[in-house]
Symmetry: C2
Subunit: 340 residues, 2 copies
DNA sequence: ACTGGCACTCGCTACAGTCGAGTGCCAGGG
DNA sequence: CCCTGGCACTCGACTGTAGCGAGTGCCAGT
């Protein structure tokens, strides 16, 4: 393909200018603002080629050029240089967690920090149960036929669930059950628990069998079923920056999509170790979000990954800056979890 | 004041038409759509009076009339008839909680239901700790110097908090502490606990004193400080209905306000028993929300109130319908909590 | 006290004209 | 062969004008 270095430079310049100004950029303005060392006419020729290849397009004849999704993709993959965080950002990240008292707090502060730093919509997934281990299971008797099951994961996440027992149960029996489930499930990866839970039923004293069976059902529901993924979002107000110029005025579908947990999970929950994903425009497979880009990554203590986080914004976003911020925040949250 | 019955009828007609069409309503259209029994000219005279009194206004000369905040207020207080729920709404409310497994679930389903039925932004406060009693306190040893404190309230709400102990503690000591705190605090209103917690410190075995002191601090923080109010919101996408005609295109400040928990709490958290509040436009004392109305009420089992819920929308909203829905949902959630 | 009539206001839309940023192409020069 | 300056062309954005129509206020008549 005829994409020599200068054409790539032109593409980079177009992306940078367009991101900054939000207006189609023309050949003359380009050579003025960047040291390309050639004349506007030459740039125009390059632009014609870039357009033919699908990296940029004209909103209408006789307007400047605008990057296409494909153009942004090329920019992100090959043209953007890492943009170091500003000292202020660095400081903000280091400070945002002082005084966080529990996991809820950490997650909420993180999502707010991300939204604030990137000036975009931020999304943070709670540490996924599927990737956690059981630290402790607590059974709290509420009445003779009701237990509160509290599961504490090694990530600090706590889930509770009410268990309706078919038959009354004594305090001693509860103690027995508690000891038993902790012995068998404590320290185990949640993903590995289903067979263990099954085994528990066979193993329990006959008198406790009905109770254990119900408990097992609830345990399986709580521990394994995806449904219990949690996710928080912040910074929706940032969608209105750029005065509706992004998203051609139809904020509606985006807000709708953002209210669906399932969709958010799809966006930031599917992470591979040690990667940072950038999905640009159409690459998001959700119809309502074809005009947005998502930068996401996994986080967790050390090298393991327990959940995802990321930001969502217009395709016209500052990719280098956003990527740097997302990566830095993820790393820092990982460190915090590791200290726990 | 010269507000005879017909003038009030005219005001009601204006409010109803404007809410339905979202367009300033003129005298001719009014007599066509309502059986007022008089001519447009007469209506015009009435309108002039209503305008003088501040109940309606003209966006510009030679346009129809639009209700003012004061007009809506009069409408809500004296002119609106109760609008019975449709069978479909009734059914939706009765069905929305089947299969709710815990308080989180109840709250989330409620907020979604409200948003869907009213087609507005819905807000639900978790049962306030300040209004709950302690059902059970659980201490789970995480390590020798760390405890997980789990508080279960009678409303089903569960709070957890990590406690860093100054000195290591044995399993037996934990058992003692657990028994002690439950004996003294179990069943008590959270609001009444502070002196009891203080007393605990003096009462505990000397060896446990440092541990108890730290625990007491965390307890007080968790149980009493307002900060632990929780709130959920849904239906932000509904703000974009009416294509930015409401809110004169500046969705921004509203979205920003909605991200502040403190603000949401102020909106729906200050409830008096057995009342339903309607705050119209300026009556909200939050600058960003001067163009919105809030319909809120308290909910709880029986006649007690444990939290607030409500909806927020443009001042131009269907007050009778919204009021009926909010009231019905609050009542139903109360019933569900009572069964608990 | 209500009504029909009338003159007036003023926002909205359509239309024509101008401006200018930006383009594509071409011929000439290093 | 690639770059450049020049040139004609396109087309959206903006401006000013005109006509329309919904809606009003006022007044005289019943």
């Amino acid at each position: 393909m005829g994409l020599d270095d200068r054409k790539l430079d032109v593409l980079r310049a177009i992306v940078e200018d367009y991101v900054a100004t939000q207006e189609p950029v023309g050949s003359k303005a380009l050579v003025e603002r960047h040291q390309l060392g050639v004349s506007p006419a030459t740039v125009r020729n390059d632009m014609a080629v870039l357009e033919e290849e699908g990296y940029i397009r004209q909103p209408h004849t006789s307007a400047g050029r605008v990057p296409t999704d494909r153009g942004y993709r090329l920019f992100v993959d090959r043209l953007s240089r890492v943009k170091p965080l500003t000292p202020a950002e660095r400081r903000a990240i280091e400070r945002f967690l002082v005084g966080a008292v529990d996991l809820d707090d950490v997650v909420h502060r993180t999502v707010r920090l991300l939204a604030q730093l990137t000036r975009q919509v931020a999304v943070v997934q709670y540490p996924s149960l599927a990737r956690s281990s059981v630290r402790h299971l607590e059974l709290v008797p509420i009445s003779t036929t009701r237990l509160m099951l509290v599961m504490i994961a090694d990530t600090g996440r706590v889930e509770q669930r009410l268990v309706e027992l078919p038959t009354p149960i004594s305090a001693d029996d509860v103690t027995d059950l508690r000891r038993l489930v902790n012995e068998r499930l404590g320290g185990k990866k949640l993903a590995d628990t289903p067979p263990l839970v099954q085994a528990l039923i066979d193993e329990v004293a006959p008198g406790l069998c009905p109770a254990m069976t119900t408990l097992a059902t609830v345990l399986l529901e709580t521990l394994v079923e995806r449904h219990e993924e949690r996710i928080v979002m912040a910074g929706a107000a940032n969608l209105t920056r750029g005065g509706l110029l992004d998203f051609q005025g139809s904020l509606r579908p985006i807000l709708e999509a953002l209210e669906e947990e399932v969709i958010l999970l799809k966006l930031i929950g599917e992470v591979e170790p040690n990667t940072l994903q950038v999905r640009i425009g159409d690459e998001n497979e959700i119809d309502n979000l074809r005009a947005t880009s998502v930068v996401s990554t996994g986080y967790g203590p050390g090298t393991t990954i327990v959940g995802g986080l990321g930001v969502l914004g217009p395709t016209r976003m500052d990719y280098p800056g956003t990527i740097a911020t997302v990566r830095a925040v993820a790393r820092y949250v990982g460190d915090v979890l590791a200290q726990n």
